[in-house]
Symmetry: C2
Subunit: 368 residues, 2 copies
């Protein structure tokens, strides 16, 4: 074993692959004169977060106010909580906004009314725009509602309107640029029209857009002032199936001890289950659902084997691997197998730290 | 709000429902003269664990050696790790087995050979038997392999053979007693034949069996010496769909702040996503997949509303609820909604503590 002392499921981070992913996205943003505000819900780590600074990143997005607090402690001074503002956390907002430039997302009169009565410190405000994902936000075509909200925001001294924020989550159900480009073009046009409508009232307003599939497949972001992709830092098998990355770009893998072998059905049982990987699954091109894919440890990195072995099922602590003949023959009880995840964000959320091939342990946010 | 200070997703535990679930299972075990060794991977809490002691429980099962260590700190003196022994954790075994009666699960010659060379303290040994789930274990009909393993175990002074352990995980894909009984009868017969074969060599050997569906639907466990159900302590919507419990038996619910309303499509967005519920899903009787069901807060408990509202999708932090007209009309931004989980074990694993209706915070195992 090249890395000693692994006895339980351990999250490996290939720093070289990760830096390559960050650099690629940062360079595209720079060339497009668009700002990269990476979504840090993926790494959940100030340790990994610092790697972005070398590429000029100094503003981030997060998915909760508690996560914003964590990153603020790591020195980040401009944070957007890219989640509809939860009015029950107003006290946290009033504290945190004294320390950093905090930007909140709003989409309803009720929330803005609440903020106007309870906010004690200035915050930036983004309007959440629904461009077709229909999870949440104001429909981009609902100009009366957007106008009414902006009127409400405009007159208050602590609410500083920053711009329109949209997330094209429906790209996650598409594959490749041919399917994603029409969505992208439609959003680009709708959001630009929206911007033009309000630019005279708010000359500094920006368009904030982004999801890893679009941002990975696009060559140029200049249509948007700011992009907020997050998952690209590690990628995963979901992104691979969308066509947003190569298998070789995936930068995290779970190291799992082998506890049982069943050569008669080409299966290997590992210590590594739903509490380590999450239960996120993907549909394999061959039609079945699966939960991860085996890669082969090779000194200070891993390689993609020619014949595929994959995780066919996950229980709470067990993973069952359908193994290639080569893997079956080379594995024994006590071996360590490396497994690429279906959804890196959810896997990272379950683990206490990353282990790099230099043997460095990088803590992951402790939410407790 | 009857319980103050909830501002983020919070796991509510209805202690009365939970005690009722424990009592029912403990009584059935007592009447059957079978021992209840509950699987504590579900509560993951020494606080909840102590509630079982009042019903005469003093032996437990867990799903990892690390979890065994946690419960040993809580005073449990007889713990079975109901997971194939991971030889890379031998040091933990040698330490823990000095403090408690530790029982391990084995299924291969390689593992037994390793134990014989590396074990320093006596442990109990269960043979993992595969009765048809085909996740792992020795097939119940493979008498030569079972005999060979027992020969290997028999001659070693630190390996104390306790019996055969089986888990009928395939009952989770069945519905109701009509579908589960044939599986149960088949296992009962096969395991009893196996026991008879080896009883002369090992007069104290026991049969350990159990899964929440079988144990909930059975009236009498006397066919088995020990039952190891776990999920019944809380139940969940998966068990409800199997027919193992009533909706009203489910003893845990997530309290989630409402952050957005979309009455035009009868949807409510809550702060509460995959990092709180896990991504486990169930198929609703009406054919669609869903992620949880809304119940109505009622003083010191909750009630099941007549018209159903359910979680239609989960992102990392968002939950989207398809709301009944009644729920839609009574909900506003800043309301708290209570949601029953699809899979309580996986949800509990993600949370730091339980909150009871008495306002008591009960810590959940901190795995970090």
């Amino acid at each position: 074993m090249p890395i000693p002392n692994i006895s339980v499921p351990t999250l490996l981070l290939d720093k070289q692959r990760c830096l390559r992913n960050i650099e690629r996205m940062a360079n595209k943003a720079k060339q497009s004169k668009s700002m990269l505000r990476p979504h840090f819900k993926t790494p959940q780590s100030n340790g990994v977060g610092t790697w972005f600074r070398d590429f000029g990143v100094d503003k981030i997005a997060v998915s909760s106010l508690r996560m914003a607090n964590y990153y603020a402690q790591g020195g980040w001074k401009d944070i957007t909580v890219a989640f509809p503002f939860n009015i029950l956390e107003i006290n946290s907002v009033n504290k945190l906004a004294q320390q950093i430039q905090l930007n909140l997302l709003v989409e309803s009169e009720a929330t803005v009314t609440f903020l106007k009565s309870n906010l004690k410190t200035p915050v930036g405000i983004f309007l959440k725009i629904d461009v077709g994902y229909h999870r949440t936000g104001i429909p981009v075509e609902n100009i009366p509602q957007i106008t009414a909200l902006l009127e409400q925001i405009k007159e208050h001294p602590l609410l500083h309107f920053k711009g329109f924020l949209a997330h094209a989550g429906h790209t996650y159900k598409k594959q490749g640029w041919a399917e994603i480009e029409p969505i992208y073009q439609q959003h680009r046009q709708a959001l630009h029209q929206l911007k033009q409508l309000f630019l005279s009232d708010f000359p500094d307003l920006i368009l904030s857009y982004g999801d890893t599939p679009s941002c990975s497949l696009l060559d140029n972001f200049s249509d948007f002032d700011e992009i907020r992709a997050g998952n690209f830092v590690f990628y995963d098998l979901s992104q691979y199936h969308i066509g947003a990355c190569q298998l070789d770009d995936i930068a995290v893998a779970m190291a799992c001890p082998v506890v049982a072998l069943h050569p008669e059905r080409s299966e290997i049982v590992v210590y590594g289950g739903g509490v380590h990987f999450s239960k996120d699954r993907a549909t394999h091109p061959n039609g079945f659902e699966y939960y991860g894919r085996v890669v082969i440890w090779d000194k200070h990195t891993w390689q993609i084997p020619e014949t595929e072995s994959y995780v066919k099922s996950l229980s709470q602590e067990h993973g069952v691997i359908k193994a290639s003949p080569e893997l079956m023959a080379s594995t024994e009880v006590g071996s360590i197998l490396l497994i690429l995840p279906i959804h890196s964000c959810m896997m990272v959320d379950l683990m206490p730290h990353y282990l790099t091939f230099d043997g460095e342990e990088i803590p992951i946010w402790d939410k407790r």
